[in-house]
Amino acid sequence: MSVAARAASLLVAFVVVAGLGVFVALYYVGGASALPMVHYTASGGQVNVALQEDPQNNSASKPDWVSYYVQDPGNSQWVHTTLFSVPANTKVNVTIYGYDGCTPLRNNFFSQVQGTIGNTVTVSQFDQHGKEYVSDQRTSVVNAWANCNVGHTFAIPGMNLYVPVASPNAQLSANNLCSSSPCTPSGNPYAKETFSFMSPAQGGVFRWQCLVPCGGGFLDGNGGPMQTLGYMMGEMDVVSS
């Protein structure tokens, strides 16, 4: 075989292998991260974000993983994603519906509400009949050391925002937690927590996560849903106008 023919063969082989690699990367890796993004737009200088955390989810692959959902402001549907965007330099009012039971914090320091306006949250708790047994309790701490009432946390470390999210009282509800996601208030005990914070003045991507080791069955509770976008960790895109 001539030198030219050998060189041509090598080139063709290289292109085939490289093309295969690019295809695999785009098809699998690119496809895997195709989570929907929920966009929130401001009205009157404010934006209302609604999240819920469920004991399970409606995915086909990991239905038993604990998971967050984001509510689409357009149609009020709950989207199984943890990506959402908010405008920059805007007051963000967050409502989190906690349907999952309590999960003790590893570090009780995160019982303290940090980074919200006033460093407080407002908590309401409902039983499975819709009865509100705790109404609009404003607090700077959700006690996770003497009691078991933190379900998860919503934390944006890059903004020093750390919010413990209360869980519903399962004993009042005879341990009947929501078992079908996305959860609805009807027939399920839940906690409703509201708080506000100012989005950063500049745009950027801010990761958020749960700091409770709630990946049950994984090493130190930090695997699985804790390490997977779309479950207990996500990104908040801050969009500059």
């Binding site: 003790p104 590893r106 320091f109 607090t139 996770a144 869980s167 009282n169």
Partner: protein
């Protein structure tokens, strides 16, 4: 008839050794002066703390030591190519080499001196700077001068103790001498000896306070001690330098070196808030293990604290999360 033959004497071989030595001396001296006076002030990690300042000096000293060696090797290499290259028409063999005791002895003595110098210098720098800002494990050999005490007052000789706690993917800083108060911000007073106790709640992290020149592994259940003393005010970048999961790259925040009085005010504020919130009573002043299953009300009667009723459930059975 007489014939005259003209004989040409070969040109006298110059002293290559002297030439090389002269060139080497000039270049090495120039390089070392540039390294010490021009490069050193810009070398990482700066001079914000005494440990960082020593690291900067160490890197400069190593560079000053290495430069003459590198220059000698490169100079000899280039000199050989230029001076002893094969000329056109020169097909002869080179002179046979049977060894050169002087060269061999110089090489052995020179490299021995360099290695021993580095050993002695490194040891002195490690011991004289209380571990050079590196984690020394739970029982440090080289300690920073200063007394340890249950309390800390500005301007005193007491070491300020800071427990650094790594957790996927954030750092918190606990101050045992302030009742165990905790913060997501690293705040340090200037000109104060600091004793870091680095640990982790989950996987292996590594506490890297870049401008302070402090780097210590954060292992679960291990108290890794490191020392430093900040010598100027400013901001500190705290990073994780051990691959610890998907958001390892985002595990960073910023700390501040402030005046002793500013630190005192900040600490009073944090301590006061955590005392009011009750969190201070829940935080051990110093602990290496954190058992999330130890909650008095877990599985017991329903109680209401701070107006919120606890689940009193049992969703987190002992043994979960799974421990290695």
């Amino acid at each position: 008839m007489t014939t005259t033959t003209a004989t040409t004497e070969p040109a006298a071989e110059p002293s290559h050794g002297r030439r090389l030595f002269g060139l080497w001396l000039i270049l090495a001296l120039a390089a070392d002066l540039v390294i010490w006076f021009v490069w050193k002030p810009h070398l990482p990690p700066g001079d914000m703390s005494y440990s960082a300042q020593h690291q900067q000096t160490d890197i400069a000293v190593l560079a000053v030591s290495a430069a003459p060696v590198i220059i000698f090797v490169l100079l000899y290499f280039i000199y050989s190519i230029v001076v002893w290259r094969a000329r056109p028409g020169d097909d002869g063999d080179g002179e046979p080499i049977y060894g050169n005791t002087k060269v061999q002895a110089s090489w052995i003595i020179g490299t021995t001196i360099i290695v021993l110098w580095l050993f002695v210098f490194g040891t002195v720098e490690l011991a004289g700077t209380a571990g050079a800002g590196a984690g020394e494990g739970p029982a440090p050999i080289w300690k920073l001068a200063g007394a340890t005490s249950a309390t800390w007052t500005p301007g005193g000789k007491t070491l300020l103790e800071v427990q650094v706690i790594g957790q996927q993917w954030t750092w918190t800083f606990r101050y045992p001498q302030f009742g165990g108060m905790e913060s997501t911000e690293l705040m340090l007073p200037v000109n104060t000896p600091v004793e870091f106790h680095v640990t982790s709640l989950d996987v292996i992290h590594s506490f890297w306070a870049y401008q302070l020149g402090v780097k210590a592994d954060a292992n679960p259940g291990v108290d890794n001690v490191a020392y430093t003393t900040a010598r100027s005010l400013g901001s500190v970048t705290v990073r994780c330098s051990e691959l610890c999961g998907i958001w390892h790259g985002a595990m960073f925040n910023y700390g501040h070196v402030v005046t002793a009085s500013a630190f005192g005010s900040w600490a009073d504020g944090v301590q006061s808030r955590e005392k009011t919130d009750g969190v201070l009573t829940a935080l051990p002043t110093f602990a290496l293990t954190y058992d999330p299953t130890v909650i008095p009300q877990l599985g017991k009667a329903l109680v209401t604290i701070d107006g919120i009723t606890g689940a009193a459930g049992d969703y987190y059975p002992p043994g979960d999360p799974v421990q290695p």
